[in-house]
Amino acid sequence: MQLDAKQFKRDRAAALENKPLRRNLERAMTTIRGRRNERFSQFVDGEALQWIGHAIKRNALANLPDLLEQLEEQLTSRGIQVHWAETTGDANRIVKDIAKRRGVGLVIKGKSMVSEEMELNDYLAGHGIEALEADLGEFIVQLAGEPPSHLVAPAVHLSRQEIAVLFHDELGEEYTEDIQAMTALARRVLREKFQQAGMGVTGVNFAVAETGTIALVENEGNGRMCTTVPPVHVALMGIEKVIPRLDEMSPLIRSLTASATGQPISTYFNWLSSPRRPGEKDGPEEVHLVILDNGRSSIYADEELRETLDCIRCGACLNICPVYSRIGGHAYSTVYMGPIGKILTPQLAGLEKGGHLAGASTLCGACYEVCPVKIPIPDLLLRLRREGVQPTPAGIATLKGAGAKASLGEAMVWKGWRVVHNRPALYKLMTRLLGFAGRTLPKRMGPLREWSATRDLPKAANRSLHHLLRDRSNAWEAGKIRSDSE
């Protein structure tokens, strides 16, 4: 995936022209938004639940270093091995070494965005280890040789028919578009693999510091299988997933499932707190937790940007986003797509490579409205845009590529804008000139061409509001001053 502004322009243009993709996205996004809204409308006060989530995550992040230590202590005391990875390279090596030590040839995976960040499957393949995705959506995109296009619904860009063709071609089964039959087929393939796999790899939704509990939310039972059937379970998480107390999980889970799929609770909810203990009939012999930084501690260092790390990966901001819902996840060329990706990626990859993503928003604020932990995404987009062109000391200290988006041309435009708008007389003259120019503006010039491809240019009025109110306003102002002094 090539991350830069030019690639983004090409890919989103292609996505916008891709009619089947647009249709799939529109259908899916409309459905999933509806489910989310329906569920939230059933809460006594859905917005209050969002603010509770916000408070829990803010508090957790404020105490992050201590909580991580506490988590490690609790897990270790119960026999879960904790590994710290500063980079994705470190994390990959940790997973590979565990696999090699145990002689694992097949890894079965639950859904994990951190593993996407690590490009774990490719890495393992390079070391002769096969990694198979067991989440149905991930299973589909893996068959298609694509990355996930959504945080929660990885294959949301595909239609049922496209998946039917894929199953027929890749699994060599008889062609069917019947969803039950296709699901049963995937299940049959996966069942066998669960039994053969030497290791299960999953993500983590929450890790509770107080009790040393790893929580895993899922709907298909593949997470349950990955964490109980293979002899080794490796869980992957970013440093931001830890929360202080077990009782805080309840509001977060409600908010997560309601936001992600509109469910009151997920079909499976796994609480993992140790490997198999003596006398227990199932469960892995070894459980490992890999805690990945990969640039998160830089984000953590900036108090405002830190809110990026509150994210619980529900995908609600993607579903509601007018940009994501028209171009889909692949056009971004990022692991994390949509609104959350637009604030996270520029920070992880640096503004030089990812800064353009902060511009891919109208700042409509729909993401902030639905966010279950109230991450002020529009404010953070504004902050990143600013750091790209006029970096603050705080940004220079923590952000890769601060100032990298500064362009002389744009800077000149805004300087000129400032000159005009700081001089009311000049501003009025310009408005008047615009009025005279009317529709004779050059439609094919630069940015105006982008506007006028499908839109008429607005026509400036001959007389501005300043002009219309010219005589009266002075009298009113004088009148007001008189009445004030009476």
Binding site: L16, W51, H54, E307, P322, V323, R326, S361, T362, L363, C364, G365, A366, K374, P376, D379, L382, R385, R386, E387, V389, Q390, E410, A411, W414, K415, W417, R418, V420, H421, N422, P424, Y427, T431, G435, L448, E450, W451, A453, T454, R455, D456, L457, P458, K459, A460, A461, N462, R463, S464, L465, H466, H467, L468, L469, R472, W476, E477, K480, S483
Partner: protein, 287 residues
């Protein structure tokens, strides 16, 4: 960030400041004038400081805070008396009310910015919550749709006021739009920097407007209107529009204050739907 606190509204003031916004000033001065006159009808004097230009949102949204602040500083000084500042736009209103305090954090004007923010009201909200206007409809039956702008909804937190003004107009039927609260794709510089996505968004918005059955689209935000209106007019022209006598003409569009004024004074009604009429509220009337 913290949960929003419900806004408290003052009682009816003797006078207000009017901050016209550069877009209304340039493209819809007649609607600005209508907004002013509708306030005056309620016995409130309106002060229009001639030194006003732009709130600074365009460079602010592009990351150019120094330029935004330089211009915003001049705007801050325009409203010395402790009077409400009424803005006929959710977006520019939000710049003054929501973003000025942050823009001036740590600056000598921080206090002034906070003080101004607390006095800023979006026009329709002010008409409903403070002036408690009663509107008598003098126009003919008409089907309209209303586009709520994003910043009005989500930054100014004004959801009901424009609709409640429209609800008072007896012969005006307000039809719902599909995905009513979805962004129209304007986004200032976004509309040209990400022109392709912007055009896809406004195309969907136009479809929703045309399918709503409304003869007229209304909005409080000039940015959204030049975007949706510009696209509606183009569609109209491209499809032959009212040039073809047998064909029904598509929806026209207009800023809300101008529409309200026309309804309560029995003034000009849009004859419905030609491209030139769509732009008339801005250019035509002023000419």
């Amino acid at each position: 960030m913290h949960p929003p606190v419900k806004r408290e509204y003052p009682s009816k003031p003797e006078a207000v400041y009017f901050y016209g916004t550069c877009l209304v000033d340039t493209f819809f001065p007649q609607s600005g004038l209508a907004a002013v006159e509708l306030i005056e009808r309620e016995g409130v004097r309106v002060i229009f400081p001639q030194g006003q230009t732009c709130c600074g949102q365009p460079p602010f949204n592009s990351g150019y805070h120094r330029e935004a602040r330089a211009v915003a500083r001049e705007q801050l000084a325009l409203f010395p008396a402790d009077l409400p500042v009424v803005v006929p736009s959710g977006s520019c209103g939000a710049m003054l009310r929501v973003h000025y305090p942050g823009l001036f954090a740590g600056e000598p004007e921080a206090g002034a910015a906070e003080a101004l923010a607390s006095r800023v009201f979006e026009w329709s909200d002010f008409m409903v919550q403070v002036l408690r206007v009663k509107l008598a409809d003098k126009g003919p039956p008409l089907k309209v749709a209303y586009h709520p702008s994003c910043h009005m909804l989500r930054e100014m937190k004004v959801r009901d006021a424009p609709q409640s003004l429209l609800a008072q107009l007896e012969r005006v039927e307000v039809l719902p739009l599909a995905n009513q609260e979805e962004c129209c794709g304007f986004g200032g510089a976004f509309s040209v920097k990400m022109g392709d996505v912007s055009r896809a968004m406004v195309a969907d918005k136009c479809r929703a407007v045309r399918q709503s059955g409304a003869e007229l689209l209304l909005s409080m935000d000039a940015g959204c209107l030049i975007n949706i209106g510009g696209a509606l007019d183009r569609l109209e022209r491209d499809s032959g529009g009212s040039a073809d006598a047998g064909k029904e003409s598509g929806p026209s569009w207009m800023p809300l204050p101008l529409f309200i004024q026309q309804r309560v004074t029995g003034g000009v009604q849009p004859a419905g739907g030609t491209a030139s009429l769509g732009a008339q509220p801005g250019g035509g009337h002023a000419a």
